[in-house]
Symmetry: C2
Subunit: 208 residues, 2 copies
């Protein structure tokens, strides 16, 4: 029972094939954000990319691999932006740092809001089907590192878990905002920041 691969082929590369892979990943994004899940099939992706299905399967072993590649690309962009934000936030108090992170994440997700929402969903599906798949590990690691600097003011012991929770909160609030069409970035940033700050520093503990 060998676990199915999701990112195997595409070993050799001439510049030509690089462009093909790029086109396929971007076609996946465009299909997902314009047609949604129901329009997302490999033939449609190949068409949109201007290549044949055969070429698609030369570089991606199965349909999920498309989602993984796209997710990886988008998460990398987010990761870079968050890294930059974290450096800038180095001297800020916790609230300011969280706000910067929230601001950055919101900015990136709202750049292509429909894509963000569908992709979040697809990532959830992948994790549901294969729980150890680590799609947000890098980002969570970076967030955890940042959190460690504020250990003194944070009530939560497990900062790794806290990082994942903060990501889940941000995701939930951003996706909900997109769904409602309430995408005023500043207000949204405030909501995310307050929830995160409450999670980390609130002193609502055991009492009943």
């Amino acid at each position: 029972m060998t676990r199915a691969r999701t990112r195997p082929r595409k070993s050799p590369s001439q510049p030509r094939s690089e462009r093909t892979v790029e086109a396929i990943v971007e076609a996946t994004a465009r299909i997902l954000e314009t047609q949604g899940l129901s329009g997302f099939n490999t033939n449609a992706v190949a068409d949109k990319a201007g290549v044949s299905v055969g070429s698609l399967y030369q570089y991606f072993p199965n349909k999920d691999a498309l989602v993984v590649a796209l997710s990886t690309r988008e998460r990398a962009l987010l990761g870079v932006a968050l890294g930059e934000a974290a450096r800038q936030a180095a001297s800020l108090p916790l609230e300011g740092a969280l706000r910067r992170l929230a601001h950055t994440a919101i900015h990136r997700q709202l750049a292509r809001p429909d894509l963000a929402r569908v992709l979040d969903f697809e990532e959830q599906r992948l994790v549901l089907e294969e729980p150890d798949r680590a799609l947000t590990r890098d980002i969570a690691g970076n967030v955890a590192t940042l959190l460690r600097r504020y250990r003194a003011v944070i009530q939560v012991a497990d900062l790794e878990a806290a990082a994942y929770d903060l990501i889940a909160i941000a995701r939930a609030l951003i996706d909900a905002a997109v769904l409602r069409g309430q995408v005023e970035p500043v207000a949204l940033e405030g909501r995310v920041t307050r929830a995160a700050l409450g999670y980390l520093t609130g002193r609502a503990n055991v009492a009943s």
Copy 2:
């Protein structure tokens, strides 16, 4: 282009058919929590329910209707529990009230954690495909009503939206906890309560 129905048939009812419908809904639950999405097909549900596919389609117009029915059943249970909790919390300060709600929601979701997670996911899918589908409207309404009592201490203006956001936060944190296997109810309750309280009362507003 008439919108597809999701809960149409089953008009007439002898006691026999009631039991059939019950069996089908519960079979859906058991399939989802034991086999996950990949095992969820109408033949499997019919088998598990001990009825034929034909009978299934006598009462449910399509596969999604199964999910809607199950979701409705589970949300009703949660709704009743939350209503009770809200009454008991009537005299408590906001934090205590939120804690009671969190406690109740967690208790119910952890009763069948795997089902809760897959069902949350399926609900997301339904909303993604049909944005105006209102699966949590009743619960959100109840939460909003409760929030109105605390208007004085809440920073957020739109309490309807806040209710949806709080539900999204709770969902995200509970599902994340189930995924990680960290289901200590008390700690989880604390996390949800702190995030909710921060969201509502935090004074992280506009500053940059």
